[in-house]
Each structure stands twice: as structure tokens, then as C-alpha cells.
Amino acid sequence: MRGAGGAAWAASPFQPRALRASVRCRAGSGLQRRGRLWNRVLSALRAPGAREFQDCGVGLNAAQFKQLLISAVKDLFGEVDAALPLDILTYEEKTLSAILRICSSGLVKLWSSLTLLGSYKGKKCAFRVIQVSPFLLALSGNSRELVLD
């Protein structure tokens, strides 16, 4: 911490802060043909909006969403890493978007699990990570989403 005129630093840049990585992501079910699903994912990346995945047909509540994430991590990294403390800070069922919180040491595992998760109950789906930050305040706004006509 610093006082006026002081020189001490608050945090070493090489000391990861526990429980400080947050991931904001959206999940949705796509169409049956992976080719068209890929196009949909690309178009959503360029122009994220409320109606990215119109053919969802699959509803998930917060508990099911969390179970999906845990099983994704378990499939890739096993039981031990599936027990990483993961919080769903916010969840919107309509847009299937959430803010997740994971410890810094679990960030890569969670993110890679989301990337490689391809289906839920037999339906193809894809996760898109929109923002990642160690600061929750940084996730409350995204300058890349500034849209001007």
C-alpha cells in the first residue's frame, strides 16, 4: 500500500491473487451441422447481441449450468480439478450468459474446459469467453462493445 509520497507497491506483479480471475462467457446450443454452428459462433463474435442463438431449445438454470461446467472440467482434468472452487456470480437464463469466478491457478483449466466443451445432453453447443479479468470491476463494462450507428 502507499501513502502520499510513498513508494511501496500494493501487489507484486508475479504474485497471482487467489480467487481473483473472473470469466464472463455465454453458452448456447447451435444447429446440428457443425459447419453452420461455426458460422454462427463467428457472427456472434463480431456482433454480440441478445439473439445470438435463436435455435436454443435448451434451457438451463443456474444449478444445471454449474453442473455443466464442473463436468466439463472433470472430463478434461479429472476429479481433483473438478473440485476447484468455482462461483457463478451472475447467471442470465435468457441469454445463457454468466460471470464466473475461479482462483488464478484454475483459470487455464476452466477456460480450456469451456473451449473444448462441445455438447450438452446430446445437443451441440459452444462457449464463448467475452472478457477475462482479475478485477470484477473491469467486467462491469467492455469498451469493445461500444456500438455507434
Partner: protein, 363 residues
């Protein structure tokens, strides 16, 4: 083992917390606000407040305008007319719109007349201008930074340097970008950007304002003299920073430790306030406007108020080539550079400055 170690690594980040008093002559708060040039989101939180004062509301509504110009050739920013009309007679800010600093070419005009170009390797070589590699390039240099001092150039428009830059922008590699522009006029004349850039598609925009009142909000208890908090007495600055993010992201603050979905809760000790006022302004916001907001919030406690403190948070553009002053800014897994004031009723303040991986330490 190296693979296992990489699995546990996260991008580095830095949060600097400092405390001071607004009456302290060594306090750097104005300098830090004024040198954080490109601000996307400004928000403040006032506990125990249900209605904003007229003066504060007017300040909030007058944080604009800013301008959006499409396909503006870069040479328009180095013409003597532009320099004498805008750069010399006020503070002119420009930033390319919809360009990702980690992928695309990005240009920014600082209020001191410096034009910063962040270019990929091919574009840099094609412009033929002198620059230096980006400090966050890594082993393979893919990004170059060119810095042009327009104030110095304007002193001698016949110089070879100015001729070379003009030739580069007009003939060698004519670059065009969509720009966000804003101008803080320090003179009495009223040249406006709308008339100056009328031959391009210029639009005027006002920042978006979102106001809300939150009821029964759990707020951490703070002591201005204790940045690191005191057990059972007050919370840490780090905990407050996270809590603030939770409030503005609408995160639930009262989860039980055994809750399956989330275990996040308000840091303890905490108190419940009957109502709190939240305001968020998004757009291309000038440091001068933020200074006015900060000054008003400094004087919020001139009259007796129930609130023990208020906060003012400012988030920069993720794709700006600079964070504070001339400090280079980049985008690794995120492009955050933000700061937050906690203003106490005794004129003490806490200042928290946060940056990501591709950033220098805040000043």
C-alpha cells in the same frame, strides 16, 4: 512439469492502492485523473442517497459531447489548420474506433499534441516512419509504436521531418480510420468539430447515462486510515475493490458458504444501508469532465451526510495505446486499466489503480 506449471499460471496483473488527503499538497489525484486520457466508463456510488442533487445531475448529463468520424484520413490530423484550430487552443483527444490494439493498427491523439500510432509490422514498414518496437512484443516483434509530436512539427512546417510525415500519410501509405474525437476548449472561440469535419461523416454523440437506486445494500465498513483493514473493525481496500465490481455487475452479496451456485458475499464487517445511488456513464469521456465530477464529490461532505464514503470509478478503453501519460498499454487476455477513488467524509481518500498484463506500473 513445465506443462503442469503452465496450467496453473494466470496472466499477471497489478493493483496499486494508496491513501492520502485532498488537502495534502503532495496529493497527486488531479495529475492521475488528467493523465488517464481515454475513459470509457465512469461510475459513482453514493450510499445513503436516494436522489441526486441538481448540480450533480447536471454535471452527469453534461459529460459530452464526443464525435464519431468515419474513414478519416490520418493526414487530416497533421494539417496546420487542425493543429492551430484544436490542438493549440484546447485539449484534443482522438482514438480509433473498433480497432483491437492486439490485432489492428490503432491511432491516438493525446491532448499534449502527441500522435501515437500502434502499427503492425507490415504497415510500419510501409509507412517508412521512425518508431520503436512495442514493449510487449515478446521475442518476435509484431507491433511498432510511432510517436509524432505535432506541437514541435507545427513550429517548422518546412522541416524535412514534416515533409516526410506528410508524404507518408498522403502518398506512401494513406491510412484511414474511424475516429472517436473530443475537444475541451480552453479559449473563447467556438470552432467546432462538426463544422470542421463536415465533409466527412461526422456524428455527435452524448455519453449514455444509467441511474439507479439500490435498496438494502450491504456495504463494507471502512476506516480511512487503514488500507489493509483491521480484523473485526474494517475491511481491506482489496475487498472493497471486488465488492464494488460485484455491485456494478449485479452480483448477489449474501450467499451462504455452503451455497452450490456461488459463495461470494459482502466482505465483513459490513453494514446495511437503506438505499444507495448508482450512476454509470459510458462513452468517450474526457478527463476534464471527470475532474469536475471528482471535485463535486470531494465537496459532497461539506454538508452533513449519512454516507461515510462515496466512490468514483473510471475504466479506460481496452484498445487505447496508452494507459496513464505515455505509458504503453496492450491487450493480453484483457485490456483493463482502471482506477477507483474512495472519498471519505474527512477528505481522506483511497486511490486504487489496476492494470493488466501488458501494462506498466501505474504512476
Amino acid at each position: 512439469m513445465a506443462t503442469l506449471r503452465r496450467l496453473r499460471e494466470a496472466p499477471r496483473h497489478l493493483l496499486v492502492c494508496e491513501k492520502s488527503n485532498f488537502g495534502n499538497h503532495k496529493s497527486r489525484h488531479w495529475h492521475l485523473v488528467q493523465t488517464h486520457y481515454y475513459n470509457y466508463r465512469v461510475s459513482f456510488l453514493i450510499p445513503e442517497c436516494g436522489i441526486l442533487s441538481e448540480e450533480l445531475k447536471n454535471l452527469v448529463m453534461q459529460t459530452g459531447p464526443y464525435y464519431f468520424v468515419k474513414n478519416l484520413p490520418l493526414y487530416e490530423l497533421i494539417t496546420p489548420e487542425f493543429i492551430s484550430t484544436f490542438i493549440k487552443k484546447g485539449s484534443c483527444y482522438a482514438l480509433t474506433y473498433n480497432t483491437n490494439i492486439d490485432e489492428d493498427n490503432t491511432v491516438a491523439l493525446l491532448p499534449n499534441g502527441k500522435l501515437i500510432l500502434s502499427l503492425d509490422k507490415d504497415t510500419y514498414e510501409e509507412t517508412g516512419l521512425q518508431g520503436h518496437p512495442s514493449q510487449f512484443s515478446g521475442r518476435k516483434i509484431m507491433k511498432f509504436i510511432v510517436s509524432i509530436d505535432l506541437m514541435e512539427l507545427s513550429l517548422n512546417l518546412d522541416s524535412k521531418k514534416y515533409e516526410r510525415i506528410s508524404w507518408s500519410f498522403k502518398e506512401k501509405k494513406p491510412l484511414k480510420f474511424d475516429f472517436l474525437l473530443a475537444w475541451h476548449n480552453t479559449g473563447s472561440e467556438e470552432s467546432t468539430m462538426m463544422s470542421y469535419f463536415s465533409k466527412y461523416q461526422i456524428q455527435e454523440h452524448q455519453p449514455k447515462v444509467a441511474l439507479s437506486t439500490v435498496r438494502d445494500l450491504q456495504c463494507p465498513v471502512l476506516q480511512s486510515s487503514e488500507l489493509e483493514g483491521a480484523p473485526e473493525v474494517s475491511c481491506q481496500a482489496l475487498e472493497l475493490f471486488d465488492w464494488l465490481g460485484a455491485v456494478f455487475s449485479n452480483v448477489s452479496l449474501n450467499n451462504e458458504p455452503n451455497n452450490f451456485i456461488s459463495t461470494y458475499c459482502c466482505p465483513q464487517p459490513s453494514t446495511v444501508v437503506a438505499k444507495a445511488y448508482l450512476c454509470t456513464i459510458t462513452g468517450f469521456i474526457l478527463p476534464e469532465k471527470i475532474c469536475l465530477l471528482l471535485e463535486h464529490l470531494c465537496h459532497y461532505f461539506d454538508e452533513l451526510k449519512l454516507a461515510p464514503w462515496v466512490t468514483l470509478s473510471v475504466q479506460g478503453f481496452a484498445d487505447s495505446p496508452v494507459s496513464w501519460g505515455k505509458n504503453e498499454h496492450g491487450f493480453w487476455k484483457g485490456g483493463e486499466h482502471l482506477y477507483n477513488f474512495v472519498i471519505f467524509n474527512n477528505q481522506d481518500y483511497w486511490l486504487q489503480m489496476a492494470v493488466g498484463a501488458n501494462d506498466h506500473c501505474p504512476p
